[in-house]
């Protein structure tokens, strides 16, 4: 295969890389946002959130992928027999644990007074959270979410271990095609990942500078 | 032997964005945005003899602090010369660190080293700059802390001290090296009014011992008591110089007169 063919072969994995990272990011929001509020405002059940965060931040994604796909897949082919589902599920749960932390920081940053202000105009606690806190929390967490999304793009490379043919898997597949090129595929893969994460890093930088200026730093 | 401990000759310092272009107006591409330039120090000269206590005062934003920083070479003047004894500090190639070791500096916002205790703050320069052995450094640091009467908080970190204590530690840090001169940049203006007294007392003690000092301050009663000479500074330059009696009775310039009236009124109201 010439370089051009290799490039096309690997680029064909990009849609899969992106769909895994976007899907798991969305799962992460859906999990992380409520969990963060539960952790802050429902102290009695906070320990469950803590345990969930500890487990998914303390076990390598690779092991989780192997565990759910090869370990649980044979017993529960639906849903764990599906590699794409397992990928989004594992990375989504991991991202939920990270995002819960990000939002928690933001909730502290926005401050309790906002909920107090909400209840003072007659909203219930959870309605104030929905109408007043969440918009501010999302704004506050933007930089953290940016790096979280970049992290998911990079972590999607791990799904190689359950055989999904995304970017990384395709690069490794090229290595095993005789004569076994070990240079071009990996250089291409690294460059593609940098290209995929660069816009986020760039935008984060700009956003950070703008914010600094706004705050007069 | 030089006649003066410290001397500034025709010092200039300008801030601003001389090189920035006015981007929004395409017709004036190379025009300098004049409003963004601040001439903080314009042709300022000063001579300080051993034992002198000089006090600089004037409206805020007039450039007094900048001038003081230039004296300590914490900011490099654009033009002019600064002498420490015989040594010209503004010549290229001078070891400024060595020079600064002979100049004590007290900051308006105190700037203690946040990760060190009061003792550590004073010791650090003795160990790292003067290279004193451990015991010797400790002894001198304790002596300096005793002089400013903060022995009760030698093991406290800056965040655990009151503003007055912290500033006195700042003074101890400045005097521990036995510098030739101490420059104080509004040492009391960042403190709560009830805490300024203890710092002023400390400065009074230093004055009594014959310490050479150049102070930027608006503490008028203190100035009247200890200053050999007062310097009225406005719009980046020295407007009038004279003994306290001159300023408290009848300053020569209108600007100084106005400023003195305002400041004395304020003090008596309090």
């Amino acid at each position: 295969m010439d370089v051009w063919q290799q490039l096309i072969f690997i680029v064909e994995g990009v849609p899969l890389t992106l769909s895994i990272s976007i899907l798991s990011f969305l799962i992460g929001i859906a999990l992380g946002l409520p969990l963060a509020f539960i952790r802050v405002y429902e102290k009695e059940v906070g320990f469950i959130v803590d345990a969930y965060e500890k487990i998914f931040r303390g076990i390598p994604e690779i092991v989780l992928l192997l565990l759910f796909y090869f370990g649980l897949g044979p017993f529960f082919p639906i849903p764990f027999g599906n590699a794409f589902f397992v990928a989004a599920f594992v990375l989504g749960l991991r991202s939920g644990a990270n995002q819960s932390q990000i939002y928690r920081g933001a909730i502290r940053g926005v401050g309790d007074e906002q909920i107090l202000a909400g209840t003072s105009i007659g909203l219930s606690k959870w309605r104030s959270i929905w109408h007043i806190m969440i918009p501010q929390v999302l704004n506050f967490s933007t930089p953290g979410l940016g790096s979280e999304y970049a992290l998911l793009i990079k972590d999607s490379a791990y799904v190689y271990v359950i055989g999904l043919a995304e970017l990384m898997t395709r690069a490794i597949q090229l290595k095993s095609i005789p004569p076994g090129d070990v240079v071009t595929p990996f250089v291409i893969a690294a460059a593609l990942y940098v290209a995929l994460t660069f816009p986020i890093a760039f935008w984060l930088d700009r956003w950070g500078n703008k914010r600094k200026k706004k705050l007069g730093l | 032997m030089a006649d003066f401990v410290m001397e500034a000759k025709h010092v200039y310092k300008t801030y601003g964005y001389k090189k920035t272009k006015l981007e929004k107006n395409p017709n004036q591409q190379n025009c300098v945005n004049a409003a963004s330039i601040v001439e903080a120090v314009k042709d300022v000269s000063i001579k300080i003899k051993k034992g002198d206590i000089k006090l600089i005062f004037g409206p805020s934003g007039s450039g007094k602090s900048t001038f003081l920083r230039c004296m300590a070479m914490l900011e490099i003047p654009d033009k002019g010369e600064i002498y420490l004894g015989d040594e010209c500090l503004t010549k290229p190639g001078v070891d400024l660190n060595k020079a600064r070791a002979r100049i004590g500096f007290v900051f308006q916002h105190i700037y203690l080293f946040r990760h060190l205790t009061a003792l550590g703050n004073v010791e650090l320069a003795l160990r790292q700059v003067l290279k004193l052995p451990k015991e010797e450094a400790r002894k001198r640091a304790l002596a300096a802390l005793a002089e400013v009467k903060v022995l009760d908080c030698i093991n406290k970190y800056p965040s655990q001290m009151s503003g007055g204590q912290a500033q006195r530690v700042g003074i101890a840090r400045a005097i521990a090296r036995n510098p030739d001169i101490i420059l104080l940049d509004e040492p009391t203006s960042a403190l709560d009014p009830e805490l300024t007294g203890e710092v002023i007392d400390t400065l009074r003690d230093l004055a009594r011992e014959g310490t050479t000092m150049l102070i930027v301050s608006h503490e008028m009663p203190f100035a009247r008591e200890v200053a050999d000479e007062m310097i009225f500074y406005d719009e980046g330059t020295i407007v009038e110089t004279g003994p306290p009696s001159l300023f408290f009775n009848a300053p020569n310039t209108d600007r100084a007169k106005k400023f003195m009236t305002r400041i004395i009124n304020r003090t008596t109201k309090e």
């Binding site: 500890k54 953290g144 791990y158 490794i172 990996f186 | 946040r114």
Partner: protein, 225 residues
């Protein structure tokens, strides 16, 4: 189900795997710390070309997965240079270089927040810039970034699971070797997962204790979150 744990051979593999993970992580964090500090200083004080080079370095190491970097280090670099280098050395290096890319960011952030007034204070007592960096800026910056090290340590530890796929006997490698003889897939991965979890949780606790011990009133943990 878990009787494979009683087999001394398997036990040996798991212990060996854990040790490799521990060694590479600790080494990586330390190299990353040293190099990351230098990069942060270079980025703050360096001239434009140096800053650009540092930005490129960071972009490469932070912009691509450690998984790819590991393949590049173990296969690509020796092939390009046409030399044989011990894979272990290369793996250690790549973890350190990767970590430096992240730690540079933490250090720079911490230094920038303390730089202005503390540098002036240091110079006002006669210390040089280098002395002030060493005795004033860095001690404060390190204390601020300890919580970030804990995160960095967790993510590096998790990344060591990639080592099995370039031929090392790390914990995942040990799991795979056990599975060749013993088809208890689920229990094996549960055990491997729990070993990682125990190590990461335990070490984070140790770091928390260190942080509490080293904490100085007034140097707050604003870098956290």
């Amino acid at each position: 189900m878990f009787e494979f744990l009683l087999n001394p051979v398997y036990q040996g593999w798991l212990i060996q795997g854990l040790l490799l993970t521990v060694e590479i992580t600790l080494f990586g964090v330390l190299i990353g710390l040293g190099l990351g500090t230098l990069l942060a200083i270079g980025d703050i004080y360096g001239k434009k070309p140096l800053k650009a080079a540092i930005a490129l370095y960071v972009e490469i190491f932070r912009g691509s997965p450690l998984f790819v970097q590991l393949f590049l280090a173990v296969y690509t670099v020796p092939a390009i240079l046409n030399i044989q280098i011990d894979h272990g050395v290369l793996a250690f290096l790549v973890f350190g270089l990767n970590s430096a890319g992240y730690q540079k960011g933490y250090m720079k952030g911490a230094m920038e927040t303390i730089l202005d007034d503390q540098m002036q204070a240091g110079q006002s007592v006669g210390m040089s810039k280098v002395q002030t960096l060493r005795h004033v800026i860095l001690p404060q910056a390190y204390r601020i970034v300890i919580p970030s090290w804990t995160n960095e340590f967790c993510s590096l530890t998790k990344s060591t699971a990639t080592l099995a796929f370039v031929g090392f006997l790390d914990l995942v490698g040990a799991g795979r070797s056990i599975l060749i003889n013993n088809m208890q897939i689920l229990p094996v991965w549960i055990v491997v997962g729990l070993i990682y979890l125990a190590w990461i949780t335990g070490f984070s606790k140790i770091m928390d204790i260190i942080y509490e011990k080293k904490k100085i009133p007034g140097i707050e943990l604003f870098m956290q979150s």
